[in-house]
């Protein structure tokens, strides 16, 4: 290791640099390639048109990736929990709606491609004002202030109609702005690619920040804010700058929101959206840079996809959140990372059987739970909509006890079985980890 850090040959250094640069760039290029190709996987070749539902979902994912990453600049990087981060997202959105409307009047010279930047600067301006207040405190007090800021923005959005347009929000037309590239952005696909470009720029920017003095001191203050003081740093200044920059990126996401939907209502500053960022970051994993990206993609897919199939998707997201925070507080990426030492030692194969043994009881629990929720939801909402309850071609009578007893049994037996299997799994896991020795802690 120490030899590797002090290479003597300059050609070797140059080579290694090139290699490292390529290695660092490859995941970004891979994500870019996937994002660009994704719509074409769902292209409707029979009718020769794009799948607008999927494009709309992918666009939403792009915005949410930016928003969740911006949120994690506070939560994961600086240890600051924000309950009102949609304030900056939504404000960026409102500003772009107004910029576009001004462009329609002919007095706003910014092209559509740079509108997200203008939105970011709006978010930054607001974050400077609110950040000056919120970052006076940290931990719980900080979280409470951001909650207040969130409430304040919702109230303001409904009260100050000139700027926020009240309940109906501010409508706009993205084609009012001119395009640098000569694109008219009439199609969803064009807007999607604009989102991909900005999501990549924003993600690169936020990733770069993690390796700067401010980014590292944000980590340091998260771990031990007192010690940072005795190294010359004012933790409040660190929090403030991190907060302001996070507001910038949240604003970029909001700008894309305004461009995509051409209407911004108080939903864009509302607390559920702030809560969404928290769900995404936590389910994906706040401890890694990729966690919030994964969380944003997953939650958006659930919101769009599962909501088509079920009225109860909010419940599923909520339960998933509780399960993750309880059993896997490091999130999905944390779970994946925990396997890295085993993978390095080539012992990942030893987990295949224990994992397989978890699937049957796991499936039973999921089926039982989903069954109960769906039956309940059918009785309260579905029946009122005049739908028929239908499972695997069967239409059980929900007013009799058998379907309830069967699902309840499925859930409880599955739960007991899962517990036993989980204990077994833990034993195997602990033995494997112990075999790796202290090196496994890396």
């Amino acid at each position: 290791m120490s030899d590797a850090t002090r290479p003597r040959d300059s050609a070797l250094i140059a080579n290694r640099r090139r290699f490292q640069g390529l290695r660092a760039a490859s995941p970004w290029l891979a994500v870019l390639a996937v994002a660009v190709l994704l719509p074409w996987l769902f292209y409707d070749y029979a009718h020769g048109r794009q799948n607008s539902f999927m494009i709309s979902m992918f666009s939403q994912m792009g915005m949410m990736v930016i928003f969740a990453l911006a949120f994690n600049m506070l939560m994961g990087e600086a240890g600051l929990m924000s309950f009102g981060h949609a304030a900056f997202f939504g404000f960026g959105g409102y500003c772009v709606a107004h910029f576009l409307n001004a462009a329609a009047e002919g007095d706003f010279p910014v092209p559509l491609e740079l509108m997200p930047l203008a939105a970011g600067l709006s978010g930054l301006a607001l974050a400077i004002v609110f950040g000056a207040m919120a970052t006076k405190q940290r931990s719980t007090a900080f979280a409470m202030i951001t909650f207040g800021i969130g409430q304040l923005m919702v109230t303001a959005a409904l009260m100050f109609q000139h700027f926020f347009g009240g309940e109906s929000g501010v409508s706009t037309d993205r084609q009012s702005a001119y395009s640098l590239l000569g694109i008219n952005y009439a199609q969803g696909l064009e807007v999607y690619y604009l989102i991909v470009a900005w999501a990549l720029i924003a993600a690169l920017g936020m990733h770069y920040l993690t390796g700067t003095p401010l980014g590292r001191m944000a980590n340091a203050c998260r771990d031990n804010h007192e010690r940072a003081q005795f190294m010359g740093y004012n933790p409040r200044m660190v929090r403030f700058l991190q907060f302001a920059l996070s507001g910038f990126f949240a604003g970029v996401g909001g700008g894309l929101y305004a461009i995509t939907y051409e209407i911004v209502t108080y939903d864009a500053v509302n607390l559920p959206l702030s809560g969404n960022a928290l769900l995404m970051a936590y389910i994906g994993g706040v401890g890694t840079f990729t966690g919030p990206v994964l969380g944003a993609v997953l939650i958006t897919a659930m919101q769009s996809g599962v909501s088509l199939m079920s009225n109860s998707w909010v419940i599923y997201v909520g339960v998933l959140f509780i399960i993750m925070v309880t059993f896997a507080p490091t999130g999905l990426t944390g779970i994946i990372k925990a396997h890295a030492p085993l993978a390095r030692a080539g012992r990942l194969g030893r987990l295949v059987v224990p994992y397989l043994r978890l699937t049957s009881p796991g499936l039973m629990v999921v089926l039982g739970f989903v069954g109960l929720v769906e039956m309940l939801s059918f009785l309260t909402i579905g029946a009122a909509e005049g739908k028929r309850f239908n499972v695997l071609g069967l239409s059980p009578n929900l007013h009799a006890s058998p379907p309830w007893l069967i699902t309840a049994a499925c859930l409880s037996i599955g739960a007991i079985w899962l517990r036993r299997e989980a204990r077994l799994f833990h034993r195997v896991w602990d033995t494997l980890m112990a075999d790796l020795g202290p090196a496994g802690n890396r």
């Binding site: 590292r216 190294m231 010359g232 802690n441």
Partner: protein
């Protein structure tokens, strides 16, 4: 006469009605290794907290190289060239060992709150952090999470973080507490090396360490300095023997 590195004038600190520091006046000359000893509860750590700005004073004045520093926040005092360690290890436990040291170099190297420098490309900074790790014998642990270090290694890191920033006045709060004999020996040698040419004020319970390292010893008992002088004088001082050393000798 040259200006002392640290000059305390009639320092007082109350917690509620309780007086913890009861009028401490003390000079630490530039380049001196000064040990602060005294029984538990004498107020040694409190005195450190006052000097480093962690706690506000009730009364008195503190000067660092002739500049008045009482009332300044800790980060300001640190920027003026005073650095301290903690009795209870205070590190960035989720950052790597290397990152802990690099963070402590940042301000002194002028990076301030920069969000445009990429630290990975700062060659000389990274080399310097590597040298400090080498000095601490922590190079093999470079990429380990600091929270996973052994106790003695964490104590060494603590000292490293205190001196890395290049401060001229170093306050060490019980740097060898809880260490085995070998670990203590290593720590003493380390402290001697890294504080070369700097002013050191150190709280220490291990008398061997104190008499080994210190040029001057001050004895703090119930919030007052009862004696101050070279080790030989302190050893012979009757009041000190009664208050503190006597208990050990008996």
């Amino acid at each position: 006469m040259t200006v002392p590195s640290i000059h305390l004038r009639d320092l007082r600190k109350n917690f509620g009605a309780t007086e913890i520091i009861r009028g401490v006046t003390l000079d630490v000359a530039g380049g001196e290794r000064h040990a602060l000893i005294g029984p538990n509860g004498a107020g040694k750590t409190t005195l450190f907290d006052l000097i480093s700005g962690r706690l506000p004073l009730t009364a008195g004045e503190i000067f660092l190289d002739g500049t008045r520093i009482d009332g300044l926040p800790p980060h300001r005092i640190n920027r003026l060239g005073l650095s301290r360690s903690f009795q209870i290890t205070s590190i960035f436990h989720r950052l790597s060992v290397f990152e802990n040291i690099r963070c402590s170099l940042l301000w002194n190297r002028g990076f301030r709150y920069s969000f445009w420098h990429s630290l990975g490309r700062e060659r000389s900074l990274n080399d310097e952090a590597g040298r400090v790790l080498e000095e601490l014998n922590l190079s093999p642990r470079r990429n380990l999470q600091a929270g996973l270090l052994s106790y003695a290694e964490q104590r060494a890191l603590e000292i490293g973080m205190t001196i890395a920033g290049g401060a001229n006045v170093i306050l060490l709060d019980e740097p060898t507490s809880g260490m085995s004999n070998t670990e203590t020996e290593f720590a003493v040698a380390l402290i001697r090396r890294v504080t070369q040419g700097k002013t050191l004020l150190m709280v220490e319970h291990d008398m061997q360490v104190v008499f080994n390292l210190a040029d001057t010893i001050s004895v703090l008992v119930y919030g007052q300095v009862i004696a101050s002088g070279p080790p030989a004088t302190i050893r012979a001082n009757r009041a000190v023997q009664e208050a503190y050393l006597g208990a050990l000798a008996a």
